[in-house]
Symmetry: C2
Subunit: 226 residues, 2 copies
């Protein structure tokens, strides 16, 4: 007996099949695949669901079944871009959160006409008087804050995890709710150590990879100086 | 009519309920929750499934139902730690891949007696003669390569995405297959630009956050020098 779960065996078979089909090809129906593999429909469905989640198959709307997802370029997005270069496409919203006036700035990250990520930033309104009225949406948020409010940002230590798309985010990014997304969040401080901006970014991991940078380490020097 | 899917409404209610219950409390059965919320069992199940995926509920083994997951500390793991400081706990395996002798080194990242990540590194055996016999498992891989084979590593540009746990990885990390994980991968080059090490790390995002570093940006200087 094999220790590999049957749905994973099915997934492996489906991946082989996928590799041979051009983009957009309707995929054989669940029932047919189940017969072909000699497996239950439940097993085949689980494997198909994973391939949809991974962006390798798409569900065809208005009818049963799936199709081979277009093999798109995986966009490489740098951490620095997320932090410094994202200009908002959506409206600047001033919301009241927990009794404090908070400005919420939402930006969509678009590549090839497709939204691949969304960034939501929160600022204290009292610190940035007139922000909602004066913000120039063509200018990335941090540059605007630096230039208009003379904020000097310190080093940043973002953290990265996974998150399931909420219905709202799913709508913005064109994915199904509960699709796993890559989440990057940070709290930005100014040089005096005062918190300025709380942001997080949700990225479609089937469309984008986050690139980072680790400076070279000289192990030999490290050891000899220890 | 609300635009929020019913399962998400159920999830919000379940999160409220969760917040009031201590760790390990058996959660009300699906049927009871469905009655309480006036929703179908399918809807409630979908919400419960997401909470299990997110590590907020656990499935009780050997019986139906779920329980409140222990609220564990989220371990903060730095990118530098993943790259430089991980010593393997598992065996060093020499495998032949694609006609080339490749050494595979697998390391488990353990925090608080629990595996929270796994790193798999691939080296060309020809470049590191005698590696499998001489490798000291108490020493992080890159330091060993630097000291024993005089490798000098250049800057690194890892990329980050999400991945669904394969059955094997799920077994190593104690999660269900297809659990979304955080994936970090890199190709390491030496200072002459020769590829040395191909690695990837899979992290349990319900247990660990990856921390990174973005050096401070002086926007004012940037603009004036442009």
């Amino acid at each position: 007996m094999s220790a590999i779960p049957r749905y994973f065996q099915a997934k492996t078979k489906l991946l082989d099949l996928l590799a041979e089909l051009p983009d957009g090809t309707p995929f054989p129906p669940e029932r047919e695949l189940a017969e072909l593999f000699g497996m239950s429909r439940t097993t085949v469905r689980k494997a198909l669901d994973e391939l949809v989640l991974e962006g390798k198959l798409i569900r065809r709307t208005g009818r049963q079944g799936t199709a081979v997802a277009p093999r798109r370029q995986l966009h490489r997005v740098s951490l620095d871009t997320l932090v410094n270069d994202l200009a908002p496409r959506e409206s600047v919203v001033v919301r009241t959160v927990g009794g404090q006036d908070v400005v919420n700035v939402e930006a969509l990250l678009v590549r090839g006409d497709e939204p691949i990520g969304v960034r939501s930033a929160y600022l204290r309104a009292a610190r940035f008087p007139g922000f909602a009225e004066s913000y120039d949406r063509g200018v990335p948020l941090r540059r605007f804050l630096a230039e208009q409010y003379r904020v000097r940002f310190g080093d940043l230590h973002p953290w990265c995890t996974t998150a399931l798309a909420t219905p709202r985010v799913a709508g913005l990014l064109g994915v199904r709710p509960a699709t796993p997304l890559l989440s990057v969040a940070w709290m930005a401080y100014d040089l005096r150590g005062v918190p300025v901006e709380r942001s997080w970014v949700l990225l479609r991991s089937d469309r984008a990879q986050l690139t980072m940078h680790v400076p070279r380490t000289d192990h030999a020097v490290r050891r000899s100086s220890a």
